[in-house]
Each structure stands twice: as C-alpha cells, then as structure tokens.
Amino acid sequence: MTQPSPKQHLGDQAFRWVTALSAAMVLLIVLGICVELFRNSALSLSRFGLDFLTSQQWNPAKEQYGAASSIYGTLVSTAIALIIAVPLSVVIALFLVEVAPPRLSKVVGQGIELLAAIPSIIYGMWGLFVLAPVLSKHVQPALAKAFGSLPLFQGPPMGIGMLTAGIIIALMILPFITAVMRDVFQMVPSVVKESAYGMGATTWEVTRQVTIPYGIHGLAGAVFLGLGRAIGETMAVTFVIGNKHHISASLFAPGNTISSSLANEFTEAAEPLYRSALVELGLVLFGLTFLLQIAAQLWLRRLKKKMAVTL
C-alpha cells in the first residue's frame, strides 16, 4: 500500500491518531490489569510473602490466607480435563478428516463447534443438576468398585467434586482443541499421505506414521490452547466443584480452584486483608494464564513461520 504523503490532510492525521489510540487501549488494559492486581494485593503480598503460595490455611476468621488448595485444585482439574479432552480431540479430528464422508464431517464438525458457543453458566447448570446426579449414582460407584484400592477413587460418591469439574472443563475445551487439530490434520499435503496409502498403508498407519509426526508441533499448540482455557474456567467449575479450601487425594472429594474461590467469596470479603488475599489469588491466576498465552503465541508464531500456513 502507498505510504501517506507528507502533506497529509488534517482529517487523515486525526483519523490515524484515533485508530492508533484505540489499538493502544489493548496495551493499556493489559498494563492496567498488571498494575491494579499488584496494587490491590499489596497488603496480602507483604503480610504473607511466599508463604501465600505454599500454605493450605484459608481461614478468614483467623485472618490466615494460603493459596495452596486453590492452586492445587486449579492444576488438578485442568489435568483431568486435558487427560480426557486431548485423546478425544485427536480421535474426533481423525474422524472429521479421515473417516467421515465430507458432508457428515461438516455437520459433525459444526455440532462440536457449537459446544464452544454454549455459555459457561449453562455448563454449570447442566453439570450441577443433570450430570452430577448421574455421576454419583452410576459412574462414581463403578469407578470405586473397579479402582477403589487407589486413593484417587475413594470416599463418598457425591457427584460434585474435582472429577466432575474436570469432566465439564474437558467438554468445554474439547471444541477448541479439536478445531486446531482438525486444521493441523488437513494441513498435511495430500501427496505425502497418498504416497503412504499407495504403499498399502491403512488409514490408521498413515495417521500414526505420517500425519501425527508431520503435525506434532501444531498438535502441541492445540494442547496449549486448551490448557490456557481450562485453567481460568470459572462459572461451570464453581457450580460443581464443591468449594472447599481443602486438598484431598480423592477425586470424588470437593475442592476449589482459584477462579471458583474468587467467584464465591469476593463480594462477601469485607475486610481489607481478605479482599487483598483474593486479589492476590487473581494475580496468581493472571500470571499463570499470561505466561501460558505468551508461550503459546510464540510457539504458534514459530510454527507459522516454519510451515508458512495460518493456524
């Protein structure tokens, strides 16, 4: 495009400035979030220091605040979600690209994408009133029967808790991971796949030995994307996790995550220290997602350069 001439119209100067300012708002907001979260958690930061991250005590009555159970819950629920969602996404993407006839693939693909459009609070309602009773009646007793010797599957099957939260998050991040994986699978040049088919390979052999190795970096990017979404998921988790500041080995037990603690307690927190501790929880979550996002962005950018495609 042509560079603007030095004798620019005054209106054009102004227009350019207005658009640049609007764009700069994005930077200003990210900066503002950093500054405000630090400023408003200063009290808790100075009072607890690094102990905040390692202490399990969360007792507003005694003015003791430790983030360990929230951080643990965030990591465990995210891990459960990824363990369920990543393999499922791989095989669904495989179905969409290699197995299904094009018309069916289109319909199923759009159905899976619709899962991403459903608001978080709807997942919460469904999870609490529909899924949790089914889990407590059928799934959790079966798991306890089969793997009850492991501490992971012990305790009363209440239907709400870490496992339920993980399952719901898995369902919510599934469409995002699947979409990227589908694109990655489609990116593999047909010539490469066809030469493998030509040698007599089956669909699975082509997928395992050609498609997946070819797109492995893209698949990793998809997992990053899912991870970033899972870690900050709030409303659906708040509905089903049980909201207890307690670390338990059992996946059936209620727990909490950073975002669910915020959603539950923030408006009730009247004392400055309580509020400050909750803002510090927010700061931890922001730091986690911020670093993840930057890593994912850099990863995808490098990938784009290497493969000269857009993801």
């Binding site: 764009a23 503002g32 900050g232």
Partner: protein
Amino acid sequence: MKRRSAQQRRVVNGAVTGVSTGAAVLGIAALAWILYAVIRRGAAAINWTFFTELPTPPGMAGGGLSNALMGTLYITGVAAALGIPMGLLAGVYLSEFGQHSKLGSAVRFMSNVLMGVPSIIIGLFVYTIIVLPSGHFSGWAGGVSLAIIMLPVVARTSEDMLRLVPDSLRESALALGAPRWRTTLGVVFRAAKAGLITGIVLAVARVSGETAPLLFTALNSPYKVESLNEPTANLTVTIFNYAMSPYEDWQTLAWGASLVIMATVLLLTILSRLALREKKTWS
C-alpha cells in the same frame, strides 16, 4: 519394523475407525444432552409472567425476571456501544496503518493474550478501577468489563475482514482524491460490511452469556432497573444466585433464564456463521 499380517492391520484399523466414530458420537451426544436438558427444564419455567413480572420472594407464586432481562439488555448495550467502535477503530489501525509497525505487532500479540485472560480477572480489574473508587457496584461497570472482553475480539476479526478487501479498491478511492479516512469508512468498510457485522454479532453473542465479569461489577438486584449507576439485575448472575439457592421455584426460574440465554447466544452464533459462510462461497 515388526511384520504384521494384513488381517491384524485391518483389525487395528477397524478398531481405530470405531473409536474415532464413537468419540464423535460422544461429542454430539453431549451437545444434544445439554440442549435437551436446558430446553425441557427451561420451557417449563417460561410463560408470560416470566417476561413481565419482577421476581418474588421464594414460596410466592408468579414471579418473573423482567428486571434481569432488561438489565442484561442494557449492560450488553453499554458494552456494545463502547467495545464495537473502539474495536473497529483498532482493527482499522491494525489493517490500514500498522501492518508492519511496532505498535501494530505489539497490539496484535497482546490482543491474543488478552483474549486468553480469564473473564473473571477482567471483572476483578474493573472492580479495582470503577467499583472501588466510586464506592458501589454498578451496571456501568458491568458494561465496561464486557466491553474490555469484546475489544480484542472485534479488533482482530475486523482486522482480518478489512485485509480481505483488495488494495486496488483503496487505491481507486485515493486516486479520486478521497482522504484516507473517507476511503476507509466509505469504501473499505462498505466492501467488508458483511464480515464486519458477522464479527461484531459473534462478539456480542459471546459477551451476552458471560457471568464471571459481572459478579464483581454489576452484581445483581431484585429490583426494576431504574439506573445503571447502582447494582443492576442481569440474567446470568441471577442464574448463579437462584441455582445456588435451596428454593425450588427460584431454581425453576434459573432454568428459564438459562434457556433464554442459551437460545439467544446459539441463535446469534449460528446466524452469523451462516452469513459468513454465504459470504465466503459468494466471493
């Protein structure tokens, strides 16, 4: 490599095909289950009073959520009024002025990062910059937090849409002596109209179902919306509060509100996707 008989390989392949088909069925079944549950329970709660009456205390029959419906409309309206123009202008900068500038690439990068920041953090941020200084929760603050969520989404999609417009069109307008701003707003915008509208509708659909950013900003209220300068009733926080309450009639209302929100968001999403697809095949 290990040798395997043709039959063994066929069996493995068949198993994988079966598993992948099963997984796809599972995904679609989950979608159907959610839609079915919300429609069945929500439909039972929806009647005329649902849309016209104010909520009643638990146990009293005949309450509705007219205040929350209006509040959600107002808050989303404020978000759209702030987020759309700013997002469009940011998109113009990214596509027309800042393709290769440092500011452009920084904004592009940070927009993606901002889109990944959990929405509850945005709510916390707006709490610290608006609710704390003003001393009270307000619908305005709710609107601002939704606008912040919209901004990077609208900016990035409008950048993509504006870039699809061929440069020859810009050059023709400039050659006729039109200033840059008229070229952009009168010619480039018109050419990209369908795509821009689609992006905007998708962004509005997305924020209208948000709950977490409203928890610490708009809060909620059982009263009619008189002003946005006070805690403002809205559908999503109402769902949260009512669902967590022990009262069955409140839970029923929460299902009704869930159906309204879900139907609206899905309808907007599907319509704008259809429009985008038509545009793509047509150009």
